[in-house]
Structures are given as C-alpha cells and as structure tokens.
C-alpha cells in the first residue's frame, strides 16, 4: 500500500516539472548566402560556396544600379 502511494504521488507530480531550455531558443541555424544553392536560377559568374566570389558578385551586381557607369 505504501509503495502504491509513493508511486501515485510520483506520477501525479511528474507533470509539474519544467524542463530547462538552457537559455537557448529552438531557432534553426541558417545557411550562409555565399554557400549558394543548387537550383536552376543561380546567376552565372560566380562559384557557390566561395565567399570571396559571392562578395565580388554582389559588388558587381550592385554596380548595375549605377547608371553613371553606363551613361556619361
């Protein structure tokens, strides 16, 4: 009877505990943009997974917005 009572108390209090998350969120880690993707829409002129090539691609691509490069 005593054992049964202990078991009942243990089971009834089991839901009262709170598991620690360690201060971390379950947010997923994101891949870097320079790692690229393998779909068919990747722009030509740079090699995915090369950070330096991606930086250069971004720089060159941004310059297409500069009409002073095209019209003088």
């Amino acid at each position: 009877m005593k054992h049964l009572l202990i078991l009942a108390v243990a089971l009834s209090l089991a839901a009262c505990g709170e598991r620690s998350t360690g201060g971390k969120t379950p947010r997923k880690a994101d891949a870097k943009a320079w790692q690229g993707t393998d779909n068919a829409f990747v722009a030509s002129g740079w090699k995915p997974s090369d950070a330096a090539a991606w930086q250069e691609q971004m720089r060159l691509r941004a310059q297409t917005q500069n009409e002073y490069n095209r019209v003088r």
């Binding site: 969120t25 379950p26 947010r27 997923k28 880690a29 994101d30 891949a31 870097k32 943009a33 790692q35 690229g36 993707t37 393998d38 779909n39 829409f41 990747v42 722009a43 002129g45 740079w46 995915p48 991606w54 930086q55 691609q57 971004m58 720089r59 691509r61 941004a62 310059q63 297409t64 917005q65 500069n66 009409e67 002073y68």
Partner: protein
Amino acid sequence: MARMKFICDAERCIECNGCVTACKQEHEVPWGVNRRRVVTLNDGVPGEKSISVACMHCSDAPCMAVCPVDCFYRTDEGVVLHDKDICIGCGYCSYACPFGAPQFPTNGNFGLRGKMDKCTFCAGGPEANGSEAEFEKYGRNRLAEGKLLACAEMCSTKALLGGDGDVVADIFRTRVLNRGKGSEVWGWGTAYGKPSTTSGSGIAPAKEPTKS
C-alpha cells in the same frame, strides 16, 4: 563582409509600384500582405514625394528586441530574418517597428492572425537555401543565387538601391553630387543610426546649385 542596406531616393521615385509588384511576384506573397509599399507625402500637391518602404533591416532592430519567443536573427550580411516555425503571431514586432514592416496574413474567420511575414532582403529564411520549404515560407532566396533584391533590380528609375551599404552609398553619393540636391535619405538615420560626424562615412550633403 558586405552589410546589406536599402536606400530609396525620394527625388527619383515616381510611385509606379514596380518594386511592390516585383516583390509580390518573386515571392508569391499572399493577398493582404505587402512586404513593400510606396508611401507618398503631399499626394496630389505639386512637389509630392514618394518613397518605397519595407523592412530596413535595422542595425539595432526593435522587432528583434521585443520578440517574446526570440524568433529573429541577423545574418552576417546584416539582414534581419525570422523563423516562422517559432513565431507565435503576437504582433509585438509590428508595434515596435517604426516602418510598419511586419505583416500578418489574416487566414480564417474572426480576423485570425497568422505568423508574421516581412521583407527578407530576398535572403529566404532558416530552411535550406533554395529549398521548396524555404520558398513556401519566406519566398525566393536571391542572395544565395548570386542576385540582389528583386525590388531594387526591377526599379525603373533606380530610385530604390539595394546591396552592400558601401556600394549603394557610393552610387547615391555620386548621384547627389551630380544633380546637386536630395542628399536626405528618409529612414536612414532611424534604421541604421546617424553618423557621429557630418564628415564621416555618411552621405555628403550637397549644395543647392545657384541660379544665375
């Protein structure tokens, strides 16, 4: 590492809404959600000014500060993104944002508010780059494809500039110096902070040309 920024040139924006359309089309944004919109001041009055507004990917993002479930994160390029699997749609970020960027799709009866949606700087989300899951939740990941933002690249007058902050600031500075006016960039100081000195790396103020 590049620090991605937007600049919208109010002297050039003609309120065509091409940026809004490009964004909606590129990411298949649902009805009722506008990641980008064009705001016009003094509409109909001569001298009206328009500016294209979206998430400014703030350096010290208030949405990130107030989120109770910590679903926001910032990439190495300074792009503020969020994880929709964690977002609870509480709307705190919407109240905190000075630009009204966070959007909430109303799906279902009683104005049920869905998970927050906002401009991703065409950088997708925490799912695998270019995956179907990423596209479904966040839209296309153009940065991982080696492209810049659809809105800026589609802008017909090049009023909206996007990309590495140093590069777009140089483009804008050249433009301002050539035309001699319009150095004010709306929202810049709010989102990215003000330069400590006027002669720092900020955009140089231009003088009005003298008429003779």
